[in-house]
């Protein structure tokens, strides 16, 4: 039946907690309230307060405690009430969790998931709109995923929970209730590290993920209709590790690459992707590798400014046209 992005996350949590009794939930207001966004709704009733645990406002504790439980074989699913607050747990993630297996000489594992509701476009302003992914995609030992569809939201969350490494799971707040999908009955997963081609095309490769994936598809349809341009759209889905093969394959096919993300342009993962393309696809390129991202500022609150700084379908359309015309 039809599920929203949000409900599919909730369903994945229900199913995984039923499947594996080592899975438990730790976070702020996740139990009785069911989470600020209702992602953990019903879990307390279904699994009891031993496995669905409200914490005080202590992000470092949430992640650190997750690490302690994880090395002993539990599979904690940790919630940051807003992805922005992940900065308060930074050391626990990039030093404690990311290096755990390494500094134990391979004789330990840290199977935890950090769910981080992220993204802008909901008047969340500076501290409820951030896209923190690129702080983590540079840290070996972590895995980072960012689903753009309800199917991937469910399938990637299940893979993340079953994965034996720390996985940061960025769920886009704007997608929670704005997208619906018919999901297959029964258990399915989406593999970590594998991008998905959402649309085949010949003229240009549009590489994106998460919040801007749907805007990118819309833009591709518009330019097809209005300009007869055939745009290939690659949804990365996983940001660490990057699916380098898929990135190179599409660019080698079309000869032009446009990278789109809602994260800020400077320092966003688009730079790394552009570098990979520039190094590995040089002889295939018929034009410069271009990027569309949020302007280099903070997530301004007031509507005209928020509108101005964020990527949107029109900006993507313009970027496609100018690159295609190159």
């Amino acid at each position: 039946m039809e599920l929203t992005y949000l409900k599919s996350i909730n369903q994945a949590l229900h199913e995984e907690m039923r499947r594996d009794e080592n899975v438990f939930i730790l976070g702020e207001d996740v139990a009785e309230l069911g989470g600020a966004f209702k992602a953990t709704e019903g879990l307390l009733e279904a699994f009891g307060e031993a496995r669905v645990i409200d914490t005080p406002i202590s992000e470092a504790l949430i992640v650190g405690a997750g690490v302690g439980a994880a090395v002993l074989g539990m599979r904690p699913v940790l919630e940051m009430q807003f992805g922005d607050f992940i900065a308060c747990a930074f050391d626990q993630i990039v030093n404690m969790a990311a290096t755990l297996r390494y500094r134990h000489g391979g004789k330990a594992a840290c199977p935890l998931v950090i769910r981080a509701p992220s993204g802008a476009g909901i008047h969340g302003a500076i501290f409820h709109s951030q896209n923190p992914e690129a702080w983590f995609t540079r840290v070996p030992g972590l895995k980072v995923v960012a689903p753009a569809t309800a199917y991937d939201a469910k399938g990637l969350l299940k893979s993340a929970i079953r994965d034996d490494d720390p996985v940061i799971y960025f769920e886009h707040k704007r997608l929670y209730r704005s997208i619906k999908e018919d999901l297959p009955e029964g258990d399915f997963t989406v593999p970590i590290g594998v991008a998905e081609l959402r649309r085949a095309g010949d003229d240009l490769s549009l590489i994106t993920y998460g919040g801007t994936m749907h805007q990118s598809l819309d833009a591709a349809r518009i330019v097809e209709k209005e300009d007869g341009l055939s745009v290939e759209v690659l949804d990365l889905r996983t940001l660490l590790p990057l699916d380098r093969e898929a990135i190179m394959a599409t660019v080698r096919k079309t000869g032009k690459a446009l990278i789109v993300h809602e994260d800020r342009l400077t320092g966003g993962i688009g730079g790394e992707i552009a570098a990979i393309i520039g190094d590995n696809c040089f002889e295939y390129l018929d034009g410069p590798v271009r990027r569309v991202g949020m302007l280099d500022t903070h997530n301004a609150f007031s509507a005209p400014m928020e509108e101005y700084i964020l990527p949107n379908t029109n900006k993507i359309v313009d970027a496609i046209r100018s690159l295609a015309a190159y």
Binding site: C88, H128, F301, Y308
Partner: protein, 340 residues
């Protein structure tokens, strides 16, 4: 609108008390109008009502001076009004207008007004306490007799930053006052899930200074302890913590129906409302409260309405202003992606 300090010096006690009453009424009226504007979609984003907590904000701020440093929490709209921030600019701030404190850059109370000694917080709860400690450090280094006041919720008290801030303040005997607004809930999380102790004030001795507990809904009680403690802190006796027991009438935010609380609890606390309680005191003092109330209601109604008119007539920021105010010392070549 006179500042607390001036009111203290050139007013008599009763004038001062009437001023306090006026402030509570103004804050309450402003809060309720803000909630209504949110329902009308004229204020978007998170709105955190402080209705019910006016007494503690008013009482503490009334004991402060110009030059003191204050970091309010996300519900402390009252701090702005009592410190004399123009209500119109405050309302414009909430509506994201150009004339607001942050010029539309951030929402609700994530904006400061340093001219009135108010520091703009981030969303990250507890993170302002180290900042207030740094302000106190400046006062100590420069031998100024100002104080820094950090308001924080009992929920924020669980953050590591709060610990680091209080510990260092204790070590250096800094002129900083920590004011805990204990309203029994952090969003949906009740006290017993936040801490294994009764009073946040009991944390103070663990840092080498004193903690005080008072009824945050009793303006006179707040005032009494705040005047005493602020004087000590200002006098160089080191930091202190005042915990004010209080309650928020609304949900955590206007989006929150607060189904996790039971009705009786709310009713009990509404019966402790600071405003009627203070009116009763004024009556005992022989004031014609009925007349005063009507007069102040009228005054306040007008101020709030004017602030709404001002805010609504104020322009929204220009889109490309989103690129302003990033740097005080301009950078050559700008950054990569500036749009336009």
């Amino acid at each position: 609108m006179p500042e607390a300090t001036s009111a203290r010096s050139d007013g008599t006690r009763i004038e001062f008390e009437l001023q306090l009453y006026y402030w509570m009424k103004l804050v309450r009226a402003f809060e309720e109008r803000v909630s209504r504007l949110h329902r009308q979609n004229k204020i978007v984003g998170g709105v955190y009502s402080g209705a019910g907590q006016e007494a503690l904000v008013t009482g503490v701020c009334a004991t402060l001076r110009e030059g003191d440093f204050i970091s309010p929490l996300h519900r402390d709209l009252g701090v702005f009004l009592v410190r004399g921030v123009d209500p119109g600019r405050l309302m414009a701030q909430l509506m994201g207008k150009e004339t607001g404190l942050s010029r539309g850059k951030d929402s609700f109370l994530h904006a400061g007004d340093l001219e009135h000694g108010i520091f703009g917080a981030t969303s990250m709860l507890g993170s302002t306490l180290p900042v207030a400690v740094g302000a106190a450090l400046k006062f100590q280094i420069k031998k100024e007799d100002n104080v820094a006041v950090a308001f924080f919720g009992e929920g924020a008290s669980s953050r590591g930053d709060v610990h680091e801030a209080m510990n260092f303040a204790g070590v250096r005997k800094l002129p900083v006052l920590f004011v805990c607004e204990n309203n029994r809930y952090a969003y949906s999380t009740p006290l017993e899930k936040q801490m294994a102790i009764e009073d946040v004030a009991d944390r103070a001795p663990a840092y080498g200074f004193k903690g005080y507990v008072c009824s945050g809904n009793d303006l006179l009680a707040v005032l009494e302890v705040a005047e005493r403690v602020v004087a000590r802190v200002r006098g160089g006796e080191g930091p202190a913590l005042i915990e004010c027991k209080t309650y928020r009438y609304h949900g955590h935010s206007e989006h929150d129906a607060a189904l996790y609380r039971d009705k009786d609890e709310l009713i009990q606390w509404e019966s402790r409302d600071p405003i009627p309680r203070f009116e009763f005191y004024l009556e005992k003092k022989g004031q014609d409260v009925r007349r005063i109330r009507e007069e102040i209601d009228e005054r306040v109604r007008k101020i709030v309405q004017d602030s709404v008119d001002y805010a609504e007539q104020s322009p929204l920021p220009a889109p490309d202003e989103a690129m302003d105010d990033l740097y005080a010392t301009p950078i050559p070549n700008g950054t990569g992606n500036r749009g336009g």
